[in-house]
């Protein structure tokens, strides 16, 4: 079955709920039927079930149009409902005598039927279950749905600014029927006041108003909120392209010509509401993605990308200020052997612990610990001279040792240790950060060559 329309889908859903209860309890009674009552009750229960399934067919049948009078959309509901009620009453009196334990469930079926009747009557009492002038509204909705990428209009809070009372009332009524929350304002000043205290998704702004013109109001709005944050649709009686261009260049997101073609207005409002929502979601997602893209998946400290970017910013700032930059490179000793002897899961675990030890050895906000490569870590220390960097490195070395992670295959010690290389550089105008990396790398080589689990440096360049 195809639910053609969000509103339609909700009505069908509401109708299916009591039917669902009716069917479920009836089926349960059939399952539980004591053999003694089988002949008497089984046909009645099955008949009721049949009635319910026929009603379900009616509800699920796609209507030729999604709007109009309810009785026109579901022409046979009264007959089917009456049949359900008659069959249920017959069942109820029979079951009360024959199978008393079933009575609570029969009551539930009865109340489901009652709910369904009430719901159907209330739908039937409405002049239309969708909207009055079905065709044009339907077209508008389709246009709006198309414009919003198929999600239908999503509602939202609109502010309509117009000095003419009759324009306001008409727009307000029609937009409310479309599911929007609508606030009206009869002057630019009043609109700006409302903007101070309330949140809106879209503003419809009349361009020609006596006290404060649309131009002035728009300028005030744009001085606080961008077109992405608060879309403004300008409404103007002047058809000349000059007015339209004026409005758009001054920060309007779109325009509408008076007299309003309501379906067009609806489609354009829906588009702005949708765009604003999507833009906001995108901005949120981007912020989050950016955060994630800087974090190493395993160790949850900064990754290589963040390291490269941070080193570059630190470097540039140091170039301007003539400040030193220090770098520590950290390599876990015999990590391949660790993996080989204890397995990769233990290896991952060790890397997480080492990363934690490295990052918790840093005391300043501006210092950055990053995973540099497989079992290599790095620490960027802005505005730090070699002597201080060496003491940080020593702190890191002893923090790793204090983890006391058993490393049976290490020839250094029976626990996990690290070798560290330290370099310091005062970057001049034409020198690149790779110079510092090379320097620290040479220190690391020296630390390894002298037996590991130590800090190596070539001193200052």
């Amino acid at each position: 079955m195809a639910d053609t329309h969000p509103c339609d889908a909700h009505i069908r859903h509401d109708l299916r709920t009591p039917l669902n209860h009716m069917i479920g309890y009836t089926e349960m009674l059939l399952d539980d039927l004591p053999p003694a009552c089988n002949d008497l009750l089984s046909p009645r229960l099955k008949t009721l079930l049949d009635d319910a399934y026929r009603m379900l067919e009616t509800i699920n049948r796609p209507a030729p149009m999604s709007s109009g009078h309810f009785d026109g959309l579901f022409p046979d509901w009264r007959a089917k409902m009456a049949l359900i009620e008659a069959d249920f009453n017959g069942l109820k009196s029979t079951i009360e005598n024959a199978w008393q334990e079933a009575c609570p469930d029969v009551e539930k079926i009865g109340s489901a039927i009652g709910n369904m009747r009430a719901l159907l009557e209330s739908l039937s009492a409405k002049p239309s279950i969708d909207l009055g002038d079905a065709r044009s509204q339907q077209n508008a909705r389709e246009t709006a749905t198309h414009a919003t990428g198929g999600s239908g209009h999503a509602g939202g809070h609109l502010l309509i600014v117009d000095d003419r009372q009759e324009n306001l009332e008409l727009m307000q009524r029609r937009l409310i029927r479309e599911g929007y929350r609508v606030t009206v304002s009869n002057s630019g000043r009043d609109a700006l006041d409302r903007l101070e205290s309330e949140q809106f998704d879209v503003i419809l702004l009349d361009w020609l108003m006596p006290d404060m013109s649309g131009t002035e109001v728009l300028a005030k709005i744009r001085s606080k909120s961008s077109a992405h944050e608060l879309p403004v649709i300008v409404v103007t009686a002047r058809h000349g392209s000059e007015t339209i261009v004026d409005a758009l260049t001054q920060g309007a997101n779109d325009y509408l010509a008076k007299p309003l073609d309501f379906p067009v207005a609806l489609a354009r409002i829906a588009t702005q509401v949708y765009l604003r929502r999507v833009t906001q979601q995108l901005a949120d997602a981007n912020r989050q993605l950016k955060q994630f893209s800087y974090i190493d998946g395993l160790t949850a400290i900064a990754n290589r990308r963040k390291f490269d970017e941070y080193l570059m910013t630190t470097w540039r700032r140091a170039q301007q200020e003539g400040a030193p930059v220090s770098l520590i490179l950290i390599d876990v000793d015999y990590f391949k052997r660790y993996n080989d002897s204890l397995g990769h899961e233990a290896g991952d675990h060790a890397l997480m612990r080492v990363a934690k030890a490295v990052s918790s050895s840093l005391y300043r906000v501006k210092d950055l610990a990053a995973r540099y490569g497989g079992e290599e870590f790095a620490v960027i220390l802005p505005e730090t001279e070699l002597a201080d960097a060496l003491s940080v490195a020593e702190r890191v070395r002893s923090a790793v040792m204090s983890l006391e992670l058993p490393h049976p295959d290490s020839t250094v010690m029976p626990i996990v240790t690290a070798s560290l290389g330290v370099g310091e550089w005062r970057p001049t105008a034409f020198c690149e950060p790779s110079a510092l990396i090379n320097l620290a790398d040479k220190g690391l080589y020296q630390a390894k060559a002298s037996g590991r689990n130590q800090v190596g440096t070539l001193g200052q360049p």
Partner: protein
């Protein structure tokens, strides 16, 4: 005996489905909203969760995401139940982290098959 957590706000639906599942030999534990569903998933460690999607407090999609985010409940299979047969409902449920999807009214044999499929995958 396999334990199923049924998260459903509608009293009749809850009563009906839990009794029918109990009759098929499942142990059924109940939660009445998404928040309770997330808490019960953790405390009861069910073998499978049947999640109504339109729930109060925390809806089914959010509850599913919360269950998937929690290491203790991450691996529990979740079957989404929705009354809407619209296209996209299925994708939306799977995207939230559900393993399978079924529509209401529940067709019991079909739902049981899906439950068994999920249980088999887990064993």
């Amino acid at each position: 005996m396999a334990r199923i957590l049924l998260v459903e706000d509608n009293e009749m639906n809850r009563d009906m489905l839990s009794r029918r599942l109990a009759r098929k030999g499942y142990e059924v534990v109940l939660a009445v909203d998404g928040d309770e569903g997330v808490a019960m998933a953790k405390s009861q460690q069910p073998d499978l969760i049947l999640m109504d999607m339109s729930l109060p407090v925390l809806d089914g999609w959010e509850a599913t995401r919360a269950i998937r985010a929690e290491p203790a409940t991450r691996a529990i299979p979740i079957i989404a139940l929705t009354a809407h047969a619209m296209d996209g409902e299925r994708a939306k449920a799977l995207e939230a982290g559900c393993n399978d999807f079924d529509t209401k009214p529940v067709d019991l044999p079909r739902l049981l098959e899906k439950i068994e499929q999920q249980m088999a995958k887990r064993d």
